[in-house]
Symmetry: C2
Subunit: 428 residues, 2 copies
């Protein structure tokens, strides 16, 4: 009863909203609602679902039903879903697709993960150079199998290589006797099928594209990428950076607790090792601490300030690298600038720190040592915060992943060493 | 000589690429290149420049030249540039715009910052319901002043209220005798001019929109937002979260060092206060540390593990709130889940921690205390990491800004208190 009512209420929803609703349910409820909705549920709903939720649902529905759902999707959406499954599940679903659809999906799966080839649609409108606007319009009116909606028409040479792009609105606004090539945009940006999606997103953002032709190794038009696919990529890539900087691999709100532990614990283990490294530095100065416990009280402040300053610099560096505002061309200048910022911040907090320590412990030498350690660590933080991600980037590694631990280990070690070392020298 | 060559070499570049190039130059070189390029520099270049660089350049060029540049831009791009200037500069430039342009810009500036009204273009194509495809095409072919490129045509009622949207490609593919209303999309999503741009971006992503009509308080069509504007918003919003989580207000690669210090130092000052708070906890246990220096060695590990676990949870929570995967509807479930994750991680690192401490110091009671403190702090981290951003969100505050300090202060304080407190009780 209740379930039928729920199904009736959710039926008029847009697929994206229905997907959101399903995600908010308990895992068992999700399956029951999908079962109640039955085959008249919009298969697009699955495209909008979070990956974790989708995989669970598809598995629970069984390969028969899953195959039927995937078969109803556009090729690029089908690829999107299938690429996330494990090989066994992929095979089971692919086997159940009608042959033409199956070939299309398998061809796209042959392109590398996160490449333009995986992202593109295979349906597009291409016309020869010598056509007139009238011919083009007649072709579009009478040819079945063209995409339902499109934003650009591509002009191709006899070997199917794109030579120009024409926005649909320009075609509409021109007389039938105008040659189509006169309407083409000044610039045409080709996307090789093997181009990484991050690169594709950069092209779209940089040049404000709405769609772009995808070409194979011979330069022949094989598909088109539209801006709505790219919006998802931009979202994903930015999200990726956020999560990696936070030490997480994916948004895992919908993952089960044990899975989440499996994903997060390794990162905590790495952090344990680096924390132990910093503690080994403290252990070197056990005697000094035993003589002057104030050192134990103040030392976490030095480390924490360094860690925070480093995180600030690192965040800016990682982001600037991602949006290409930081490049080899201005790296040296940015490093010098960050060092300068670190030094100025260091002098500010040398002063503030000295006042704090003096008021707290009334010992001018201790205050001076505390202030100097702060200066040293803030300068170190600035340097490490920008150089480490640059080096990671140069080595072809993702600067967002491990820079964080790396840099804060540096500021912990340097912070403890500078403070306790100076204290040992001047105070004891 | 050199400068003329540089100008000649950069002239064929796309405005976006020229902007990137200008940004990579030293501040003085930037001005010289722009001066050498003279008035035939594409004014769009300024739209692509980083805000800091742009403001400096416009100021250096003077209001006369700046006004001329802004006058050549589309209204939405002009608004984009002017809204970032201070009032004095805004006035100077607005005074130099031709009257119709000036009125258009001022009208858009009247909408709240970051609203749909600021984001929209004022040029769009609207036709009455009873028109046929043929009439629509003839209208578009013969009417000047329509936008150069557009993706949807809007159908309006006699009071100018939008009642449907028609993708341009559908018009192209239909016979002249078809009534335009038969082509309209099932759904039309209206954007009120006062809607926040974050909300607008959500609509576009959620429903895969390419353009959307903007309406005034009476529901009349006054503009259109296209997906390329939204791509920038999505990029900005995600970047905002990244930077705030890192304790930075803006990407400041192009800002001068002193400006950068002014932006970053306040955050470090906040961190100093919270670090002192944590150190006050340590100071409560000075005696215990004096007796057993191993406590000083191990205590930063407990705090650091808590901080990292909290950052993981917090990052996921902030992101999930932003993309609306975490809502009041599933908040309780997510909190329980994170607590469970924290408890399991806590048990894992209780065990690992005990082994580490035992090997290092050979004291089983110390090892047990260390392990227990780890468990307590990891569970606390999980709880604070998800509850703090939820509370911020509920209070209408941005969870990305201050959650970080807040949460790590909690884990520092609890970490030190649990470890030193348990140690004082069991060991001394």
């Amino acid at each position: 009863g209740n379930l039928d009512l729920a199904a009736a209420l959710t039926r008029p929803l847009h697929a994206a909203d229905l997907a959101d609703l399903i995600q908010l349910l308990e895992p068992e409820e999700r399956l029951r609602l999908v079962a109640a909705l039955g085959p008249d549920m919009d298969p697009d709903t699955f495209s909008y679902l979070d990956e974790t939720v989708r995989d669970e649902l598809l598995e629970a529905l069984g390969p028969e039903r899953a195959g039927a759902i995937v078969a109803e999707l556009e090729t690029d959406d089908a690829v999107d879903i299938i690429e996330e499954l494990d090989e066994e599940e992929q095979r089971e679903i692919l086997e159940r697709l009608p042959m033409p659809e199956r070939i299309a999906v398998e061809e796209q799966l042959a392109y590398p993960e996160d490449s333009a080839g995986r992202l593109m649609q295979r349906e597009f409108v291409a016309v020869p150079e010598y056509w007139l606007v009238g011919q083009t319009i007649d072709y579009m009116r009478t040819t079945p199998g063209l995409p339902d909606e499109f934003y650009d028409i591509f002009i191709v040479d006899p070997r199917m290589r794109p030579v120009g792009g024409v926005p649909v609105s320009r075609v509409l606004r021109s007389r039938r006797s105008v040659p189509i090539r006169e309407l083409k945009l000044k610039e045409l940006r080709l996307v090789p099928a093997t181009m990484d999606q991050e690169e594709v997103a950069f092209l779209f953002r940089q040049y404000g594209l709405v769609s772009a032709p995808v070409v194979d190794a011979d330069g022949r038009l094989i598909g088109v990428i539209t801006v709505d696919d790219v919006v998802d990529v931009i979202q994903e890539e930015a999200e990726d950076d956020i999560l990696k900087l936070g030490g997480v691999t994916e948004t895992d709100v919908f993952a089960r607790p044990l899975e989440t532990v499996k994903r997060r614990a390794p990162w905590l283990a790495v952090n344990l090792v680096t924390a132990i490294l910093a503690s080994l530095v403290i252990a070197m100065f056990e005697e000094a601490i035993a003589k002057l416990v104030a050192l134990a009280v103040l030392m976490p402040i030095v480390a924490s300030m360094g860690g925070n300053a480093a995180t600030q610099t690192l965040t800016v560096a990682v982001r600037s690298l991602a949006v290409r505002e930081l490049t080899p061309a201005n790296a040296a200048r940015v490093i010098v600038k960050e060092l300068l910022v670190g030094a100025i911040n260091g002098l500010v907090f040398l002063a503030v720190g000295m006042v704090v320590a003096l008021v707290w412990f009334g010992d001018p030498t201790l205050a001076l040592v505390f202030g100097l350690a702060m200066l040293i660590n803030l300068a170190t933080a600035a340097f490490a915060g920008v150089v480490v991600p640059l080096v990671f980037h140069r080595l072809g590694l993702d600067p967002a992943v491990a820079s964080g631990v790396f840099v804060t280990t540096v500021t912990d070690v340097v912070g403890f060493f500078a403070f306790l070392g100076l204290a040992g020298y001047f105070l004891l």
